[in-house]
Point group: C2
Chain length 338, copies 2
């Protein structure tokens, strides 16, 4: 267990390289401030299919094929695909990836899924079990609204704390060979439930899980926040960000100068009528795969702590009056090995 540091952290001995990333998004994301970082903006939310679920699967298929191609690999070179999404029984991923015919691990961490996929993918590579794995996470605004909320046709009003689900898939190839950026350490989150029951305020539900894992990451590695150039949570939005910064201060860490949130970066919140921020598995995944990976490769930043955050509720659990358990996973991606 020589690679396990502190309570919840793995320090990789042969940090896997993020060999390539790919991000494919829908039209609203293509109208946002990160548009130029995405590989493809589909003008058609249906991606040429006849349902939102099939659209997500088509988006997943295209993104995973693209990320493999961008790594100059063939699909058969990929030993494992780790992927997940928000649809019931993860049909976005499973139907999307059935044509790939590669060993598949389905993951569920709600919007934290890209963190889970990068963590377990890096474990497979660093542990000597694989040379090339693909990590993917996706969401589709229309499919998620249908699954979790109301039929779009109703035009239901959204409260100011609500987030907007990103239509997008972000994927990465992790490799045992390469010159970085490297996945250097991962801190795996615990389920944290602070009793929030409002599924239109997921930022509040998820902020304590993010604070828990970020605090543990610093403690396990005995580092201060300024070790990183950027600490990017997944989809806390403006409401969750405020809470996170306060919780981190209470833990003795001031991350206010380093923190951003993928859900705040990906949209122009005012102009695009987003309310609290972007959300969905695809929010953190595409913002990492598009924006942050690009900045790492250009050395605009050299050390990123990427912390996708997930709300683990369902429609049924909300209807039954349950609170929202949440989880977050911290994944450090650095241009040089520590």
């Amino acid at each position: 267990m020589e690679k396990h540091i502190g309570a919840q952290t793995i320090k990789f001995q042969n940090p896997p390289t993020v060999l390539s990333t790919a991000a494919i998004v829908g039209p609203k994301e293509g109208d946002g401030p990160l548009a130029k970082y995405f590989d493809k903006v589909s003008s058609d939310v249906l991606f040429g299919t006849n349902s939102w679920e099939a659209a997500e699967s088509e988006m997943v298929r295209q993104t995973v094929e693209l990320v493999v191609q961008k790594a100059n690999l063939k699909m058969d070179d990929i030993q494992y695909i780790l992927a997940g999404d928000l649809l019931n029984q993860e049909t976005g991923s499973t139907y999307g990836l059935r044509s790939c015919k590669r060993p598949f691990f389905g993951l569920f961490g709600a919007c934290s899924t890209m963190g889970e996929a990068l963590s377990l993918g890096a474990v497979l590579v660093d542990g000597g079990f694989a040379d090339y794995v693909v990590a993917s996470a996706s969401s589709h605004f229309c499919g998620v609204e249908k699954t979790f909320r109301f039929p779009l046709e109703l035009g239901t009003q959204r409260p100011p704390t609500a987030s907007w689900t990103v239509t997008g898939d972000g994927a990465a190839v992790l490799s045992s060979v390469g010159t970085g950026p490297y996945v250097t350490t991962v801190t795996t989150g615990r389920i944290v439930d602070m009793g929030i029951k409002d599924s239109n305020n997921m930022g509040a539900a998820m902020a304590p899980a993010a604070a828990d894992v970020i605090t543990q990451h610093f403690r396990d590695l005995n580092i201060e926040p300024d070790y990183y150039d950027v600490i990017a949570t997944g989809d806390l939005g403006t409401v969750g960000k405020t809470l996170l910064l306060r919780l981190m201060t209470e833990s003795g860490y001031d991350i206010s100068g380093l923190h951003t949130d993928c859900g705040i970066e990906i949209f122009d919140l005012e102009r695009q009528d987003i309310h609290a921020g972007g959300s969905g598995c695809g929010c953190a995944a595409t913002t990492f795969a598009g924006y942050f990976y690009n900045r790492l490769r250009k050395k605009e930043i050299n050390r990123l702590l990427f912390v996708p955050t997930g709300a683990l509720h369902s429609v049924v659990s909300m209807q039954q009056g349950e609170s929202i358990p949440a989880i977050a996973h911290a994944v450090a991606i650095e241009n040089t090995k520590p």
Copy 2:
């Protein structure tokens, strides 16, 4: 990548020991032929809660706490819990495990989930990332009927090809130290979709995935079926078993004398009005954790190839006329290291 053998198989260098298992089931499973192998049979399908979803979560909590206790460990000794179920957004696992406060990886492989959890759990232990992990998979008949089929109150007729979802959670502690039984090799499945569209015939949908991964397992390791004492698929039932044996014969492997199916073992199909067999994540998980682990420990069998099988559809994908993608993972558990 020295641990990767052939196309899809991992051969562990320090095979993790299955230190303990636990299985908690509902009353119908307690009336079946494997009753004496389960740790607890709840006479109450609600497990003292007021909903089927909460019942599953309570069953998961009890089983995971029990398996840790049976390993003579404390919950804080567990570095990772890997778990999944069939409910939308996996609330059986997430709500059940939020009180454990341990690093959590949510998995989705439908009824193959126990195979996925044992595979990734063994990767974490063999790779030096953890000394103790818990793998768990659960299902609840009433919750699954509500999620996938019809309200129980309707009393809908079931066709002869239909399976009966097991109410149960099976869990295992994998450890870096111990004297076996060992997880020695795992072959990770690919998604296979042969175009079956009848969600009341999941055995037919899953048999090709089982045949694919079992065939690949033999080829990757260059072994014959009789290397194993038992080859146990997850929940193919009688319909899927017949198809599997035929597909294996077509692949050049006769497993007819070695094969059984957890869905056939766990119930008395005729007397209990089960139809094709048991199913659900809990079917393979409890049959392994209860019956097969006991037989391994007693040396009644010494080499088990455990192949949980999963149908990766959702209600929505069925309503949209889609076919059923399936997956299976092969996990070899042996009393001696190869």
